[in-house]
């Protein structure tokens, strides 16, 4: 299995290296769909220049990366392209290993269910054969590495590739059951962009499930483990933030990074939902709607965790997708991470309604973004409403992709199938 993966990595690196050499790289790195004010490479370079001049990189309103990233590139400036390609490969390998582990568990569960004869006849078709499952990890890696979104994001040297790598490592360490590593990577991801905070709950659920600790508020073992995990998480987060303080010698980065993410002062158009809305907003409503919009990312964690208590891995997928849709400065790189997970649930896609429609819409939107941008900014004949309409459609089309599998249970199929699907296959 290692050979196809190696081949895939070689192909992926070749494509990226070739694209880095063309003039396309410059063009892509200017696209608002690919880079946001938060993670544009141009801004990293600017921050580095300021740092070299002994000026705080956060002075002025250009640089919004975390101090860790700037110090990382302080040393790796000359190897930036390699770093980004490595980050992508690392993500792919981590996802590959994580999904492999996960599949083993699913397969074991499926076997037990088969032996116990708990599977209703009409659900037999949902059972996955070992050959099918054998290729899923590879497909996941392929979906990540060969996804055009990942490729353009890497070619634009958008730092969300690094964030994806951290999240992928977090998923891998969670799958392997290493609570400490999981907490550390989660802290790193949170440190990078706040939103992965919500992944704390599924990780915890997964680790509890793995240790056969029931989720029960009256059990002390549950509380003990939860507190232990949270302590590790918050502890490493604190260490990271203090480390940044010592590196930089000031707290400038807190408002410049986290304040910037949460209060959304930069309304450059992107594929998200914030910019248009807040460009139109009267100032005295701003705070209120800011809370409303930001709460979207965090709000769904609770109901989803209750509903998907038994399926934490699926919950992780859902959370990553929700973050990609609702975060304040989304880029296509964020989308590619959750899209990589789609093959894991490919046996469920026959239940997906409108999958054809949705994929057509996503395809058309991806093509229309640059066209409408051209009409708006260069030709001056269209306006921002055209572009926002596509943004909106794009976001709406993403919702069924990630939400439909979870809605399968309640309606449509017979309750038995549904129950079965639910209990077995996530």
């Amino acid at each position: 299995m290692a050979a196809p993966l190696a081949l895939l990595l070689i192909v992926a690196v070749t494509i990226r290296a070739a694209l880095f050499r063309t003039s396309l790289a410059n063009l892509i790195s200017e696209r608002v769909e690919v880079v946001s004010p938060l993670n544009a490479w141009k801004r990293v370079v600017e921050g580095l220049a300021l740092l070299d001049l002994d000026i705080s990189p956060y002075s002025g309103d250009v640089f919004h990366e975390t101090p860790m990233v700037i110090y990382l590139f302080h040393f790796l400036m000359d190897y930036a392209e390699i770093t980004f390609m490595l980050a992508d490969c690392l993500t792919a390998v981590a996802l590959y290993l994580a999904v492999k582990d996960y599949n083993k568990q699913v397969f074991r569960k499926q076997k037990f269910a088969l032996e116990a004869d708990r599977i209703p006849m009409d659900c037999l078709e949902l059972i996955r054969s070992p050959t099918e499952m054998y290729y899923i990890p590879l497909k996941v890696a392929m979906f990540y590495l060969l996804n055009p979104f990942t490729i353009v994001s890497c070619v634009a040297k958008c730092t969300c590739g690094l964030n994806n790598a951290v999240i992928a490592l977090f998923i891998l360490s969670t799958m392997r059951g290493s609570a400490l590593l999981s907490a550390i990577f989660l802290a790193l991801a949170t440190y990078q962009s706040i939103y992965p905070l919500t992944l704390c709950v599924p990780a915890l659920l997964y680790l509890l499930q793995r240790l056969y600790i029931p989720v029960n508020v009256r059990r002390s073992s549950f509380w003990f483990y939860t507190l232990q995990y949270l302590f590790m998480f918050l502890g490493s987060l604190l260490v990271l933030i203090c480390l940044s303080f010592f590196l930089l010698g000031s707290w400038d980065f807190l408002p410049a990074v986290y304040g910037f993410i949460l209060s959304v002062p930069d309304l450059t158009p992107n594929i998200g939902l914030f910019w248009y809305f807040f460009a139109e907003m009267f100032d005295h409503f701003r705070l209120f709607f800011l809370c409303v919009f930001q709460i979207n990312v965090f709000f769904y964690t609770l109901p989803l965790s209750i509903k998907l208590k038994e399926h934490p891995v699926f919950l992780i997928f859902m959370q990553i997708a929700l973050i990609a849709i609702f975060k304040s400065y989304p880029t296509v790189g964020d989308l590619s991470l959750y899209m990589a997970f789609l093959p894991v649930w490919n046996h469920l896609y026959r239940f997906l309604r409108n999958i054809f429609l949705v994929s057509c819409v996503l395809l058309a939107c991806s093509a229309l973004f640059p066209v409408l941008w051209h009409l708006w900014i260069y030709a001056g004949s269209a306006n921002s409403n055209f572009y926002y309409a596509i943004t909106l459609l794009f976001s709406v089309a993403q919702v069924p992709v990630c939400l439909s599998p979870s809605l399968l249970s309640s309606r449509e199929s017979s309750s038995k199938t549904a129950l079965f699907t639910h209990s077995l296959l996530f």
Partner: protein, 614 residues
């Protein structure tokens, strides 16, 4: 969403869509064409109206008196032009300076990728002369441009004369709040391109030009004047710019309003507005006007010197003087007054023209069709592609299980990625060859065949285009035994979606081009399968291919302009149109040639591939 989420109704809907797919597609196609033809019908169109407040309510008086003197200047210009055998730079500089302008010149040179036989030029060297009238009443942050070309021969001398006359007259007025730049450009669009690139400090086409020494503010609007006779019978407004871009409709409204006020006959596409919309001839007149606009827009080339301004977000139009056999003539003074009035109003603008429409078609100068009205015509055609794609998707997701003799059900294997990828890659490589080879291999062709460079380029393009048709057989050898029933369906699904996205994007940027392509490619995409009669379908496909569409468009255009051509002339015209298309791309960055070669043609080849699927 209720309809789509209830499984039973959803199944019923999909069942209906697949069962009635062919009739629905037919109806959609006919409805699309009918809708488009209906656009020229007057009750369905809107009357033009001025949206811009700054230009609407303000009154201006036109007092330009010096038409005769302007014509005299024009004759003087012609004499000097003849003497120097090109742009009389020194004379122009002196004359403009004498009229109190800040005068600058810009030199430029450009080597064309291959000789332009229409305009007989290859190594182009020239000079632009422009004079800036500084705004006395406001900071110099905004500017207007009036340009006239310095054409070879006896053309456009009067235009330069009026330009200089207006410069002298405007100098004495005190109400200018924007700089006014008077530009005389040599080598029409090439000079204009050099000047605009110099003004905006960009270099998109790799032309050599000397940097501009003087600038005004940001240019708000521009008019280009073309006038070759002392008196005119009517003035023609040309709007179509590079890549089918149009200026804001208010510019056309402004022109029309002043023509009405001053009493000048005005036309667009050389057709007068008519009032008898309820008669057949009136309707066909409107259709002709609109079709001319559609064809011109679809050609993606600038139809006047204004065409390049639009790329820089500057609203611009060309005004052409027409001298025909009508008895009623308009003299140069009136033309000057018209321009004066238009500039006075443009001078009043507080912001860029943006109130009115940017996407429109004009069945006459007084009527327009906005994007909301014409897009459904395209939408109906695009819907066919989506319906076909849905049909294919349904067929693919429920594969027909075939029963063999033993009674064992065999589900056909899903096609390999390779069998889809190979045609895609091959047809795109052909497209890349069509895009790059003609210009690259001209020298080689000239050495071996008795043709000129221009002919070599055009004939190579046609040869590669035709050679592409031989490809499916070659593809098949590569893929021996892989052509399954599922295979072509997947390929067709990919091709249909590809075409839908491609046409959709094209129609947004350039509606006319998208619509014409949809008109020919959509029926082909809808009916092609490997099971239709091969020879007949192959003939139909070739007839509907993008290359022949262009040929028909050339004949149709000539027919509409009431200058019909014979087959021989038409063919020569077709060849020159192809060379012009390639030149437009190289010189000004027109997107039609790369679009056709790199995307539309490969897409068409995919369907050709499906037809010959084994």
């Amino acid at each position: 969403m209720g309809l789509l989420s209830d499984p039973n109704r959803r199944r019923a809907l999909i069942g209906m869509l697949t069962r009635l797919n062919a009739p629905i597609c037919m109806i959609c196609y006919m409805a699309g064409v009918a809708w488009f033809m209906g656009l020229a019908f007057e009750p369905f169109t809107l009357r033009t109206y001025m949206s811009e407040n700054a230009m609407g309510s303000t009154m201006v008086e036109e007092r330009f008196p010096a038409g005769e003197r302007a014509l005299a200047t024009g004759r003087e210009f012609a004499a000097h032009k003849k003497k120097t055998g090109g742009m009389p730079v020194d004379w122009l500089v002196r004359t403009m300076q004498a009229r109190g302008l800040e005068v600058y010149t810009q030199r430029f040179s450009r080597k064309l990728p291959f000789p332009d036989e229409d305009k007989e030029r290859y190594m182009v060297k020239g000079t632009n002369v422009y004079g800036i009238l500084r705004a006395p009443r406001a900071p110099r942050t905004e500017a207007l441009v009036l340009s006239a070309p310095c054409s070879p021969g006896n053309e456009n001398n009067q235009a330069v004369g009026i330009l200089l006359g207006l410069a002298q007259y405007f100098r004495s007025q005190i109400y200018w709040a924007k700089d006014i730049i008077f530009l005389v450009n040599e080598h029409d669009l090439i000079g204009m391109q050099a000047w605009l690139e110099g003004y905006h400090h960009t270099n998109t086409t790799g032309m050599d030009w000397s940097p501009l020494q003087g600038r005004g503010g940001s240019i708000q609007a521009a008019l280009s004047l073309e006038l070759s006779s002392d008196v005119v019978t009517s003035l023609d407004l040309v709007l179509e710019g590079l890549n089918g871009q149009l200026p804001n409709l208010d510019l056309a409204n402004l022109f029309y309003a002043f023509c009405q006020k001053i009493g000048v006959l005005c036309t667009t596409q050389g057709k007068l507005p008519r009032n008898d919309w309820d008669t057949t001839s009136g309707y066909s007149h409107a259709v002709q006007t609109m079709m001319l606009m559609v064809l011109k827009q679809a050609s993606s080339r600038p139809w006047g010197d204004h065409g390049l301004f639009l790329r820089y977000h500057i609203e611009a139009a060309s005004i052409k003087g027409v001298n025909s056999f009508r008895p009623y003539k308009t003299d140069a003074t009136t033309v000057g007054r018209l321009l004066e009035g238009m500039y006075r109003k443009l001078n009043n603008l507080l912001e860029r023209l943006h109130q009115s429409y940017f996407f429109y078609l004009m069945p006459s100068l007084t009527r327009f069709v906005s994007i909301g009205y014409y897009m459904p015509a395209f939408g109906l055609l695009a819907l066919i592609l989506l319906l076909r794609a849905l049909d294919l998707w349904v067929q693919l997701s429920s594969p027909p299980t075939r029963t063999t003799e033993d009674g064992v059900e065999v589900v056909p294997a899903s096609p390999g990625v390779l069998s889809i990828l190979t045609p895609l890659v091959i047809s795109h490589l052909t497209g890349v060859a069509l895009y790059t080879l003609p210009v690259l291999s001209q020298e080689l062709a000239v050495e071996h065949f008795p043709v000129s460079e221009t002919e070599a380029v055009v004939l190579t393009a046609i040869a590669i285009y035709t050679a592409g048709l031989a490809l499916p057989h070659n593809t098949h050898r590569l893929l021996a035994g892989e052509g399954t029933e599922q295979g072509w369906k997947v390929l067709k699904l990919v091709a249909v979606l590809y075409l839908a996205v491609l046409l959709g994007c094209t129609a947004l940027i350039n509606f006319s081009l998208g619509f014409i392509l949809a008109l020919t490619l959509v029926p082909l995409a809808a009916f092609i399968t490997p099971h239709v009669p091969k020879t007949l379908s192959a003939v139909v496909m070739v007839i509907l291919s993008p290359g022949l569409t262009l040929l028909f468009a050339v004949f149709f255009f000539q027919e509409l302009q009431e200058t019909p051509v014979t087959l021989q002339e038409g063919w020569m015209l077709y060849l020159s149109v192809i060379s012009q298309g390639i030149l437009d791309h190289a010189l000004y960055g027109s997107l039609l040639y790369p679009l056709a070669a790199l995307l539309v043609y490969p897409c068409w080849l995919l369907f050709w591939n499906i037809l010959f699927w084994k």
